[in-house]
């Protein structure tokens, strides 16, 4: 069984290499059957990888300790559910998942585009196969999940208890789906550059892939934040850890890309910018995988020891150099078809939004890699902590909120001052009223004041957009709800986008509230003693001791009162896992829309007293709710509808697709 897995990986290496060669030759020599062969090679490779991943999952669930990866990541008493999730708990397993997802996407792209984008497709497949080849080489020669242990063990090392959490199960695969998804628009961009077909076709045809990848990346990041909040037990959800930053950077550039492609579709501008953005986003997803898997930031020394790191660097540098070469040699064809009409236009607000997002990604990039760079350049390792990231991202975030609000108020091309002021009236009024209200309520934190008031401004401007749209639609649909439904459904991308903005704004409310106004307090408590924090009273009732399937538990009980009213019992606890010899602190959280009461049990002493740390984090749940709304909006925006214009009727009628492709090429040259 192990041998089958190894052979499957090897054959997949050969098939991806074969695909690159054959699709290149097929395109150059105009050989239709070569292209057909390249597609079949990718489908076969997918079948092989599916066998490989199934074998590994089976080995994990049945605890086949002959395989090193299995012995390192599961143990006898681990439930099947978590044993399966160990597939992405270690390095080679997660690389296999990456490769399998990528190959799955390649197959979907092939079937989606059987009779579309015939000029681009050979190079799209070749590019995707190139990325797959990289991962397959890693898997087959550097980090093989089917490597044998070489000796017999009766018990595995087990899954890290921190990863035994239902939310954590889905965090890595979701993130990977997002990462891998960006390969598709990237491949289309490279194909557009190679074939010099630099109109908006590559953008239009991958629009939904882009939204899909962005959505999955967003969900992955939020799940990670939620997991950190619930499981890591330090009181927060975001710590500017290199691994967190690694996923946030492609998110920022991906967000910029989502916005700027609209300008290219509409006006044929920003071509170089868009191509560069998707290339950077793709490179950042690879860098992210590398940072997460290699631990390079935590210790540069671990890097030298691992060959894997060099392979990653070689791939990153080659892809970057190749992309740069393509852009430079096609500079003239990438020139804008139009000019910006005015400073005060929606186009320029998109442009500002882009600069800010890319600027944020840039700052985070330097902050994250600073220790590595300083050590390489000066020999002294210097780190930058969370204050750096906060100093720079908080003002950037507030500026972004402002632009989100202004954007729908300005018209395309050139806004007249008159209609700008008219549109500005209500949102501006809400901004001022909120600002005064918050000042009267005693809030003096400048950033929080700006953030909350501007969010009010943005939400009002979005509501007005909906209001205007519904009002116009009521000529056809007198019923308001029907009008609203049809409005959103007829212009899914636009109104889906606005709903995403609403979600992001609600999340910003939570981020602002929890970062500006959280309080914490700790205290040693004897049985029966009461701790007071803000308007809460926590009465310590005592500690219970019991056993679960794989842990020994110490659970403290606190009776919680708010302004003297009893709310219930909270049980922060310590779980000791004997197999891994590791203790886990399980926090207890009481969450309301206003604030989270967050209890951490520091330790239980011999006399039965406990050390308790309490955080009050205002508005945190708004982040999770905002994300739900964002998901709904993104789903509406990407819901399939009419086929994109790019699939011309002529191409679809063609009986022999590959022949039609060459006709197209011929017509153009």
């Amino acid at each position: 069984m192990i041998e089958i897995g190894k052979v499957a990986l090897l054959f997949s290496v050969i098939l991806s290499f074969y695909t690159i060669v054959v699709s290149y030759l097929g395109y150059r020599q105009r050989l239709g059957y070569f292209l057909e062969s390249s597609r079949r090679a990718m489908i076969s490779s997918f079948a092989l990888l599916t066998i490989a991943i199934t074998l590994l999952s089976y080995a994990l669930v049945t605890k086949n300790y002959e395989i090193k990866y299995v012995a390192e990541n599961v143990s006898n008493n681990l439930p099947a559910f978590y044993a399966f999730s160990a597939l992405w708990a270690g390095q080679s397993g997660s690389l296999l998942l990456w490769a399998w997802l990528l190959n799955l996407f390649i197959v979907i792209v092939i079937f989606q585009n059987r009779d579309r984008h015939l000029v681009l497709m050979p190079y799209v497949i070749a590019t995707l196969a190139g990325i797959l080849l990289f991962f397959m080489v890693l898997l087959a020669f550097f980090s093989n999940p089917f490597e044998r242990l070489g000796f017999t063990v009766m018990e595995g090392q087990g899954l890290n208890p921190l990863l035994q959490n239902p939310g954590m199960m889905f965090h890595p695969p979701t993130l990977y789906l997002g990462y891998v998804g960006f390969s598709v628009p990237f491949a289309f961009a490279i194909a557009a550059l190679l074939t010099r077909k630099l109109d908006s076709e590559w953008i239009v045809s991958t629009r939904r892939w882009t939204i899909f990848s962005w959505l999955l990346l967003t969900i992955g990041i939020v799940l990670g934040a939620k997991w950190a909040y619930v499981e890591l037990g330090w009181g927060g959800y975001w710590g500017w850890d290199p691994v967190e930053n690694a996923s946030f950077m492609p998110w920022l550039t991906g967000t910029a890309f989502l916005h700027s492609i609209m300008i290219q579709e509409r006006k044929g501008m920003l071509k170089i910018w868009n191509v560069s953005l998707i290339i950077i986003t793709f490179l950042l997803t690879i860098l992210g995988t590398f940072i997460t898997r290699s631990g390079i930031i935590a210790s540069v020394h671990s890097f030298g020891a691992s060959k894997l790191g060099y392979v990653f660097i070689v791939f990153l540098v080659t892809s970057a150099a190749f992309s740069l070469y393509l852009i430079l040699t096609r500079k003239d064809e990438l020139r804008s078809e139009n000019k910006l009409d005015s400073f005060l236009s929606r186009e320029s607000s998109f442009l500002f939004n882009n600069w800010i997002l890319v600027g944020a990604a840039f700052a985070i990039f330097w902050g994250t890699l600073f220790p590595v760079i300083s050590e390489a350049v000066r020999g002294v390792k210097i780190t930058v902590g969370p204050p750096f990231f906060n100093t720079i991202t908080i003002p950037i975030g507030i500026l972004l909120i402002l632009i989100t609000g202004i954007c729908p108020l300005i018209s395309w091309r050139k806004a007249t001052l008159n209609n700008f002021i008219r549109n500005f009236l209500y949102p501006g009024a809400v901004f001022v009223l909120l600002l005064i209200g918050l000042l009267l309520a005693g809030i003096r934190n400048l950033y929080a004041l700006m953030s909350f008031s501007l969010i009010g401004f943005v939400l009002t401007s979005i509501v007005m957009e909906f209001y205007r749209g519904v009002k116009a639609r009521r000529r056809y649909d007198p019923n308001v709800l029907v009008a609203l439904k049809n409005l959103v459904w007829k212009f899914r991308r636009r109104y889906g986008g606005y709903i995403v903005h609403v979600g992001v704004m609600l999340a910003f409310v939570g981020i602002t509230g929890s970062s500006a106004f959280s309080t914490e307090k700790d205290q040693i408590l004897k049985k029966g003693e009461i701790m007071t924090i803000k308007n809460y009273q926590l009465k310590f009732l005592g500690v219970d001791q019991f056993r679960t399937a794989n842990a020994e538990v110490l659970s403290a009980s606190f009776e919680v009162y708010q302004d003297g009213k009893r709310l219930g019992i909270l049980n922060p606890s310590k779980h000791y896992h004997p197999l891994q010899d590791q203790t886990m602190t399980e926090v207890a959280i009481r969450s309301t829309w206003k604030e989270d009461l967050y209890l951490i049990l520091g330790g239980v002493q011999s006399d039965g007293s406990v050390f308790l740390k309490v955080h009050i984090n205002p508005l945190v749940s708004w982040i999770w709710w905002g994300t739900y709304i964002l998901i709904v909006g993104a789903l509406i925006a990407m819901w399939p509808g009419r086929r994109p214009v790019a699939s011309s009727a002529g191409a679809r009628k063609a009986v022999q697709p590959d022949k039609a492709a060459f006709d197209l090429v011929e017509n153009e040259s």
């Binding site: 708990a89 080679s92 890290n160 020891a305 320029s348 500002f352 330097w366 210097i382 100093t391 720079i392």
Partner: protein, 131 residues
């Protein structure tokens, strides 16, 4: 029209640059091992730094009444290089004697110790040294 864009970019870039360097200024910290600290103590006197080392087995003491930990951090390679650490608070779950940690805190040369504000232990995910 073009001038407005130029002004916009200049304003944006300079504000950005200001924040960038101000942020760096506020949060740059030297990251050293215990031996570095022993050989050049004056460089780090009363500064907040990050020191990496191994929690010396048998050195960890918890004064429960103050929830304060006292332990000795020894150099990764040379166990004779040592520095005392004082930390009040909750230690990470995987903190135990004999493991590698990063201690962030103020180096008080006169007292010969580090008043720690944060203790970081290696990440939960399994990093493999060599493939």
């Amino acid at each position: 029209m073009k001038r407005k864009f130029v002004i916009g970019i200049v304003v944006l870039v300079s504000a950005f640059g200001f924040l960038f360097f101000q942020g760096l200024d506020q949060s740059m910290m030297a990251y050293v091992n215990v031996q570095d600290l022993e050989t050049h103590p004056q460089q780090h006197t009363n500064k907040v730094i990050q020191v990496t080392g191994i929690v010396q087995p048998g050195s960890v003491q918890l004064v429960a009444a103050e929830q304060t930990y006292y332990f000795v951090l020894q150099d990764l390679e040379d166990p004779r290089s040592q520095i005392r650490i004082v930390y009040r608070g909750i230690v990470p779950d995987n903190f135990k004697p004999g493991i590698q940690v990063v201690v962030q805190g103020q180096f008080q040369q006169d007292r010969g110790l580090i008043q720690a504000e944060r203790i970081l232990v290696k990440c939960p995910s399994k990093y493999e040294e060599d493939a």
